[in-house]
């Protein structure tokens, strides 16, 4: 049901009955290593290309999520997935492996929450009993496509972020045990005229703020409703801007409540500059770490705001600015 301008409230409260996070070697050294279901020692996974390796990550995440939900592949009625590679190749090829009805989506790094919103909508509307959401990113594949060759020696500025290698997946169902998806706010595309692809945090922060404000306005609740509000891969730079922007707009969120998946992912000592990014950043943090904390009873209500920078390597070369989007999903135990 639509509430306010852009928020869907899911009356039937779809349940996340199983979720999985798969990571690479760099993530294994990070803060959230314990919350990954599987961590790989190399980024190739025995495949011939980075893109195939990313597909492998996504396939493993989907398989693990289905297994943890106590289901079989055949029980999944719809599969929604997105990633960063041209024409969402890992997602579509994983859908080929799964052989279930598939909806390919693209929301850049926000794909996980875009997918979760749509999956919840499908379940809530009664169009299916079970849906699978997946998303992946691969550091080397992403660098290769969006920036320079992976081994090219270019000095990155302190505002640059590190793309997470991994994949996250979640099974959303009508009934079952687990955290519930209660509401989701669909963001607008916000472009503040920034064009530096090495400063995504600053470009995406206004989109996150816009969606957070819309969420609280539409549902007429205050930030105290949530135990944790986590933005997706804004990194240290974007997180600081978003926090200050929210305060400026009169929405005071306590410092300990507002966090960012890009900051949570890695240790301070890791050379990730401003923090983590990529589809898998929000996906693995939410479907791994945060949902685990909810299941343990440490958190009851959380709000995840996944942000995405909707640029392409071509739009950057044509000197276009970076349009950004954010999706907020409210999850309750």
């Amino acid at each position: 049901m639509l509430q306010g301008h852009q928020t869907w409230v899911f009356e039937s409260k779809p349940v996340i009955i199983g979720s999985a996070a798969i990571g690479g070697p760099f993530e294994a050294q990070g803060n959230l290593a314990k919350d990954f279901d599987l961590l790989h020692g190399d980024i190739w996974l025995g495949q011939d290309s980075y893109e195939l390796a990313e597909r492998k990550f996504l396939e493993e995440a989907c398989e693990t999520a289905i297994k943890k939900a106590g289901l079989k592949k055949e029980d999944i009625q719809f599969f929604l997935s997105g990633d960063l590679i041209n024409q969402i190749m890992p997602s579509s090829f994983t859908a080929r492996t799964l052989a279930v009805p598939y909806l390919g989506i693209y929301g850049a790094c926000s794909s996980s929450m875009e997918g979760l919103s749509l999956a919840s909508l499908i379940i809530d509307s009664g169009f299916a009993q079970t849906a699978l959401v997946g998303t992946s990113s691969h550091n080397a594949a992403c660098e290769k496509q969006y920036r320079y060759p992976t081994e090219y020696g270019a000095q990155k500025p302190p505002t640059a972020q590190w793309t997470v290698t991994g994949a996250g997946a979640a099974v959303v169902a009508k009934d079952g045990e687990g955290p519930h998806v209660v509401a989701s706010t669909i963001g607008r595309v916000i472009d503040m005229g920034l064009s530096d692809p090495f400063n995504m945090g600053a470009a995406m922060a206004p989109a996150a703020v816009d969606t957070i404000e819309a969420h609280f306005r539409d549902l007429n609740i205050s930030p105290s409703h949530y135990d944790l509000i986590a933005t997706g891969d804004l990194g240290r730079v974007g997180h600081r801007i978003a926090a200050d922007l929210l305060t400026q707009h009169g929405l005071d969120i306590p410092v300990e409540k507002l966090t960012d998946c890009g900051i949570l992912m890695y240790k301070e000592s890791q050379p990730v500059l401003a923090g983590g990014s990529g589809c898998a950043c929000v996906a693995t943090t939410t479907f791994g770490h945060l949902l685990n904390r909810m299941r343990k009873g440490e958190l009851n209500r959380i709000l995840i705001i996944a942000t995405g920078a909707l640029l392409s390597p071509m739009s950057y070369q044509q000197k276009e600015t970076i349009p950004c989007i954010a999706y907020a999903v409210s999850i309750e135990m």
Partner: protein
């Protein structure tokens, strides 16, 4: 940012960009310059050492030792790129590792490595000069223009 670029922005966008810039860490330009000086200096010193080696132990003079020296530096750079070391050196040294011939070798080697999965013709062959290509194109063109100027001046009786 240049003022022309700013002119196309709305006042809200301009306000936000100032707001954001105040909260972004700046590139440490002075530290980067010092690192580039040290990094580039070390690479050139190694090159000088290799040249000295060729002159002292082989039959090269100062003029002819240049070619084998550059070849050795290129091989070292390509090896370091392939072992995944060069990009880490570059993150520290910045322009210091980009400007010498080793940086040029790195652009070609890294582009080739990444494109190998697309095959030798369309992948490696097609993308090898992805980054180095523009340098060659505009380098050759500038040399051509400079040569034209020189020829013109000489034929007019100058120099």
């Amino acid at each position: 940012m240049s003022s022309i670029k700013r002119k196309n922005l709305t006042s809200v966008q301009q306000q936000y960009q100032d707001f954001a810039r105040a909260r972004e860490p700046q590139r440490p330009i002075l530290a980067n310059c010092i690192r580039a000086f040290i990094g580039g200096g070390i690479i050139c010193t190694i090159g000088q050492g290799i040249q000295w080696f060729f002159i002292t132990y082989f039959n090269f003079d100062e003029k002819t030792a240049g070619d084998p020296t550059v070849a050795v530096l290129i091989i070292i750079s390509v090896l370091l790129t392939s072992f995944g070391v060069y990009d880490h050196i570059a993150q520290w040294a910045g322009a210091g590792s980009a400007v010498p011939v080793t940086g040029f070798a790195n652009t070609i080697a890294s582009a080739s490595l990444d494109s190998k999965s697309e095959g030798f013709v369309l992948g490696v062959g097609g993308n090898m000069f992805k980054i180095a290509g523009p340098v060659i194109v505009f380098g050759v063109f500038s040399a051509f223009v400079v040569a034209l100027i020189k020829v013109t001046i000489t034929s007019l009786g100058g120099m």
